[in-house]
Amino acid sequence: MAGSPPVSAPATGAAERAGRGLTRMLLDRFLLAASFAILLGWGWQGVFKVAPGESAVILRLGAHHRTRIEEGYWAHLPPPLESHVLVNTGQIRSETFGENPTRSTPGKAVDVEDEVVAEKITRAAIQTADHNVVNVSYGLQYKIADGFAWAFSMADPASVLHDATEAAMRNVIGRRTIDAVLSQDQNEILQEAEELLSGMLADYSRAVGHAVAFEVVRLTLEKPQAPEEVREAFADVVSAGQDEKRSALVATGDASEIVEQARSLAAEIREQAEAYQDAKIVEARGEAARFEALLVEYQAAPEVTRRRLYLETMEAILPAMDKVIGDPAAVNLWSSWPPVQAPAGAVAGEGKR
């Protein structure tokens, strides 16, 4: 079709021939230009842009060939030789579970019965090993670790990851008692769940000969709580714990009061005893001194001192007494003495001196 002459034109006009040559030339040019344009357009289809955070997974004839992670415009062989899929590997994606889940897990109900069952499922409640129920809200943040695996190894990778996370977390909590879940270090739960999850994801990827598509950035766990229906009972346990501590504190206070009181009483007893001791000694010394002083006087003039002391005493005691003076041999006074009974130890024999 291209090219020029040797056509069979016997003897037409030269001008006519020249005109036909011109149109032909123009047509050729046009066809050539159009062909180049088409080629260029085709080639342009191989140009693609990698935006920040994205990876371009490039397939050559259907097989994974390379992955571009540098941002900017790039080109691969035009399709169908090569094609690309853009995957956002920089973005951190998240799923939440529990109170406000990002998706509901029970699958499509097969029949009405299943639908009824599915409606009964509470979102946040997780069974624990001691047959209790605990409300746990947790979250997963992840990135796509391998664009090719993400796009080509699973039909619905986000759902798989979601359910696997749920299975791992519920498994970990299901092996613990509610007290352990409520009080234990949550990092331990998270660590165990993450290990379990990583193991599961690695198994899935290995099963289809791909790299692991996900990278778990972090698992988060909100403070687990007892279900609303029994929260009061759990709160009572907490207040019972406080009661326990308080009664011990009160008792300690009482105890120190008791001991301190005893100490003060003991101090009093000691002081009193010492006071008694000191007083006795001082008293004894005083009396001894007085006696000794008197003795000195007495030894100087025994008869006079003796008589003086005696008379002074009698002088002092007799005025207050009821006195009867008489001859004890002549009168039996005892019968008429006003106090009917005889004072047993009545002084009678003082006069013997």
């Binding site: 509470t122 299975a167 299901g174 009972a233 120190s256 005893a273 006195k323 004890p328």
Partner: protein, 296 residues
């Protein structure tokens, strides 16, 4: 010029062939990384392609005669409907699980499931579902919650049943177990009872500790008082002893005089207003009362 056109022509033809192959209409079979392709000639399968790339082994396909069927090679995610299962000890529990499966043999899969993936999913859910039910049914609640080892083999056993149908089950995983509403109440009641018991125990322990502390304090207080009393008695005794010693030392100098003065003192103290005394006129005190006797 002619050469250029020729080149363009050849190129265009090549591209056309590739495009046609890409959309499964051309003479080549290009298989993508996440797909299987089965080539049927006159309706009879002649090739099953698992690997990515241009399938050269089975030679070029005859366009318009050979048919190409495409199957998904990716892991399929099947979230099963939650089902209520009766487990050991007549407990009932709602089990929600998911199945990950993959087409293992596209031809067998095609033969069993002309409706492709949706048809397969129904069958898989049936098969795996009954396996799950029978396995879970033998477990106790505790075993189920701890995800007993029996559950790990579910995938293997499911695969064994479904492999003939071209399906390989990668994982069957129970992601959640729930209590039916009816037994939830009982569970809550049981939880409440447990908590009550714990609260009572804590309060009782607190009381016991308080009592111990008080008793110990009283014990200590008693010891302190007893020690003080003992020390007090010792001091008093010592005081008495020293006093006695002092008295003895002083009075011993003249015992008779002591007896005299002490008697006088005793009279002063013991004889007073309420004492009656009968005195003889001969008494020493009246020695000078009757002057006639004064000389005696």
């Amino acid at each position: 010029m002619r050469f250029l056109f020729g080149l363009l022509l050849v190129g265009a033809a090549l591209v056309a062939v590739l495009w046609a192959s890409q959309i499964d209409r051309g003479p080549l079979v290009i298989n993508r990384a996440d797909e299987y392709r089965v080539v049927l000639r006159w309706g009879r399968p002649i090739a099953e392609i698992h690997d990515a790339g241009i399938a050269g082994m089975w030679g070029p396909r005859i366009p318009f005669v050979d048919e190409v069927l495409v199957f998904d090679k990716k892991i399929q995610y099947l979230s099963a409907a939650a089902t209520e299962v009766e487990i050991a000890a007549n407990d009932r529990v709602i089990v929600d699980y998911y199945v990950l499966w993959q087409i293992d043999s596209p031809l067998a899969f095609r033969r069993t499931f002309p409706g492709n993936v949706p048809a397969a999913e129904a069958q898989i859910q049936n098969t795996v579902g009954s396996l799950v039910k029978s396995t879970v049914g033998t477990l106790s609640m505790g075993e189920l919650l701890a995800r007993a080892g029996a559950l790990d083999t579910l995938a293997q056993r499911s695969t064994a049943e479904l492999l003939d149908e071209g399906v390989r089950v990668i994982d069957v995983r129970i992601n959640r177990t729930e209590l039916p509403i009816s037994s939830q109440k009982a569970t809550f009641e049981q939880m409440r009872e447990q908590r009550r018991a714990i609260a009572r125990e804590k309060r009782a322990v607190g009381e016991r500790e308080a009592r111990e502390i008080r008793a110990r304090a009283e014990h200590e207080a008693r010891e302190i008082l007893a020690a003080a009393n003992a020390a007090g008695q010792v001091a008093r005794g010592d005081g008495d002893a020293q006093a006695a010693h002092i008295y003895a030392a002083a009075y011993g100098k003249d015992a008779e005089f002591y007896a005299f003065t002490r008697s006088l003192e005793a009279y002063r103290r013991s004889l007073g207003e309420k004492t009656s005394i009968f005195l003889s006129p001969d008494h020493e005190f009246f020695r000078y009362l009757d002057p006639s006797r004064a000389g005696r």
